[in-house]
Amino acid sequence: MADPRMMEPDLIHQFKNHLSIIVGFCDLLIAESGDGDTRRDDLVEIQKAAYAAMALVPELSKRFK
């Protein structure tokens, strides 16, 4: 089994990649939703959660080094 530190670049890359997809589609959906759209709140929750996850990546990257 490889040392997880060796996996670090791939792992961080994949985290960022998946989170970028989530954030990207979420931003898109928010932009296309109207002010009165009831689903907007749900999308905002997704966006907040995705940014919260994204904020953890630098910490993850730092701990691996």
Partner: protein
């Protein structure tokens, strides 16, 4: 016949004197006989008068004395003396002649004759005979004595030779032994002198009897300074105390013992590994202590460094695993919100473009979740902390379950799934059911994803020796070149698939192999380029006493009617999760949700409100979710309130522990909204009667 000289001298011998008389004249014969008889000499006289008869008589008989005439008609005394000297040299020979002159007689005496007697003076014959007889007896006695002396000398010489030979042999053996001992001694001395270990011997008072060169170097003192001295006389008192105490233990316990001792070498403390043992005399009494001490300072330092490095590695690994565990929880919390809200949106009536966007969000979230789970599993395996529940698992069942789960993906890609009949029905392997399913799901989903369009995936099983079963998943994909096969099991190594749009974390195969090995099995691959690959997992065969698999959602709950009313207490500190559950329960408008932000508040709420259901997070800011669960269960008034634990770390072991502590069900975060709603409906409708 020889006569004893003393008896002859004393006249005590009774034996008649045997005389051979060479004489042709009968008158002279008679005169001689008469002279002898007249003097009292008892004798037997054999008379001869020729050479033939003289010679024949000497050959046939033994005589004490020979009397011989000097001049005979056919013979002569000179020749007779020569014959007698030849045939019986010890017999006295006396010439008895009437014509033997003085000069001739002296010649004869010089030539060995005993005496001569003139016939004219016959009266002298008896005394001549007596003297000759006595001389002969004495001569014989001397001869015998000389013979005895010679015999004794010869015997003595023989014995001396024999003894000398023995002594020579003993001396030779001793010399050889001495040479061997010397050689052995030299060898031992060489070993002692050039031994890297310090070797020494002390008497019972602790005085050095023997030291080698190494100990001289170690103590910085010459041999002369050490021999006969005690440690207290040559070393620092503290060291001497320790050495003496250890020697005393060997003396009192009378057995070999091992010690770690310090030594001061050039002002630097060295560590010695000392073996000390008693020496016994032939009576079994101890008389000395022998010691062999090796300087192990460097080895010990290296060992300490290895131990420190190992401890550091364990600490680092532990820290890494702890970090990964926290990271997992920290990432799952927002992921829970992402997937939860995305699932709600997915269930809504959306524009197809928006629906596609929501599915991309869900897909991204799920891949991220897979990634976290797989990294965590790898970290757990590395730390030896992967919790496995080995049990007999029926291969047919686990294959069927995995195939069912992957079937939608196969259908989506137009890949046919073919499960070959198993050689033995109900054959089981010893495995962790969930982990084996995870491995098969990985192999099957890979076989589908990396297959060609309209391809085929074949699952088959074969027995291998010894007592193992091999589950094979074969695809009809493009195959992997032999030189790249090993790379397949490297984490994040996707062999270029990352550029093909085929989704995956690149950890699946590495994790599957690690899981198979953790279960005592193996995982491998055979591949032919352009024809496809066959991945296999091999595990030990087990007896077929099998429990039914633990299903996250019992079949009985599927199709439960939506709950119309009820009160739920949700103990959760993360507001995103609270909002998600609130949002989910909008679909059950009659259900009241009360939020408790920590464990103690939650416990009070349950005790005061007696809700119909409790939703409980495990990671709470004050007390743990397990403590809350125990609190609910320990109060008879609240024990009946069902509790659903919602956790991001739901391992089989934890699930069992929580259920044993009173949990009615466990669900994993990120939440499967459909599953959560079904559970809530079931408990609020009172359909979940058996809480086990």
């Amino acid at each position: 016949m020889p006569h004893d000289a003393a008896a002859v001298r004393d006249g005590t011998t009774n034996a008649p004197l045997r005389i051979l008389h060479l004489e042709d004249d009968p008158h002279d014969r008679e005169l001689a006989a008469a002279a002898l008889a007249g003097d009292g000499i008892v004798c037997e006289i054999r008379r001869v008068d020729s050479r033939e008869t003289f010679e024949a008589a000497l050959i046939a008989e033994t005589f004490d004395i020979i009397l011989a005439d000097y001049a005979l008609p056919t013979f002569d005394g000179l020749t007779a003396q020569a014959i007698a000297r030849r045939l019986c040299p010890d017999t006295p020979f006396i010439f008895l002649s009437g014509s033997l002159g003085e000069e001739l007689a002296i010649d004869r005496l010089k030539d060995g004759a005993t005496d001569y007697v003139l016939k004219q003076r016959m009266a002298r014959l008896p005394s001549a005979v007596r003297r000759a007889r006595l001389e002969a007896a004495e001569h014989g006695q001397r001869q015998r004595a000389q013979d005895e002396v010679r015999r004794l000398n010869a015997e003595l010489e023989r014995r001396v030779d024999e003894r000398t030979g023995e002594l020579r042999r003993v001396n030779d053996a001793l010399a050889r032994r001495e040479a061997e001992l010397q050689e052995s001694d030299q060898r031992l001395q060489g070993i002692l002198e050039y031994s890297p270990a310090a070797i020494y011997m002390k008497d019972l008072d602790g005085r050095y009897l023997l030291v080698n060169r190494r100990i001289e170097q170690l103590f910085g003192r010459g041999r002369d300074e050490l021999l006969g001295k005690t440690d207290h006389e040559v070393l620092a008192p503290r060291l001497a105390d320790i050495y003496r105490a250890n020697d005393q233990r060997v003396i009192s316990e009378q057995r070999a013992m091992h010690f770690e001792e310090a030594a001061l070498v050039g002002g630097v403390i060295r560590v010695l590994a000392s073996s000390k043992f008693p020496l016994f005399d032939p009576n079994g009494n101890i008389y000395a202590v022998c010691g062999i001490s090796e300087d192990v300072t460097e080895r010990k330092r290296a060992d300490d460094e290895v131990k420190l490095a190992r401890l550091e590695a364990v600490r680092a690994n532990s820290a890494k695993n702890e970090f990964l565990s926290h990271m997992s929880h920290d990432l799952r919390t927002p992921l829970n919100a992402v997937l939860g809200f995305a699932q709600l949106l997915d269930a809504a009536d959306l524009h197809p473009d928006h629906q596609e966007a929501v599915r991309q969000i869900i897909n991204g979230g799920r891949l991220l979740l897979d990634l976290i789970n797989e990294v965590l599993d790898i970290a757990r395996i590395e730390a030896g902390r992967l919790s496995l529940s080995p049990e007999p698992v029926v291969v047919e069942d686990v294959i069927q379950r995995a195939v069912d789960l992957v079937r939608p993906l196969a259908a989506q890609r137009g890949v046919t799934l073919d499960v070959r009949p198993l050689p033995v029905h109900d054959q089981a392997v010893l495995a962790d059911r969930q982990r084996l399913t995870q491995i098969l799901l990985n192999l099957l989903s890979n076989a589908v994803k990396y297959n060609r369009p309209e391809g085929m995936v074949t699952v088959s099983v074969e027995s291998t020796l010894p007592a193992r079963l091999r589950i094979m998943v074969a695809d009809t994909g493009s195959g992997v070149p032999p030189e790249k096969l090993k790379l397949l099991f490297h984490p994040f190594e996707r062999l270029g698939a990352e550029h093909t749009g085929i989704e995956g974390t690149g950890l699946g195969l590495a994790l599957s192999r690690a899981l198979a090995e953790a279960m005592g099995g193996t995982l491998g691959v055979e591949s032919v380029v352009d024809r496809g690959s066959t991945f296999w997992v091999e595990l030990g065969i087990a007896s077929t006493s099998v429990d039914l698999p633990l299903e996250p959602v019992p079949e009985s709950r599927i199709g439960t009617k939506p709950a119309r009313s009820g009160t739920i207490v949700y103990v959760e500190d993360n507001l995103s999760n609270v909002r998600l559950v609130q949002r989910i329960l909008r679909q059950r408008p009659g259900v009241e949700l009360r939020h408790a932000p920590d464990g103690r508040t939650g416990l009070s709420a349950v005790q005061e409100r007696r809700p119909d259901l409790v939703l409980l997070d495990l990671h709470l800011p004050d007390i743990s979710g397990e403590d809350v669960l125990r609190g609910i269960w320990s109060d008879p008034e609240t024990r009946k309130v069902p509790t659903i634990v919602m956790t991001a770390d739901a391992t089989p072991g934890l699930t069992r522990r929580l259920k044993a502590a009173g949990a009615a069900a466990c669900v994993t975060k990120p939440l499967d909204i459909k599953q959560v709603l079904q559970l809530i409906d079931a408990f609020l409708n009172g359909q979940e009667g058996d809480r086990g």
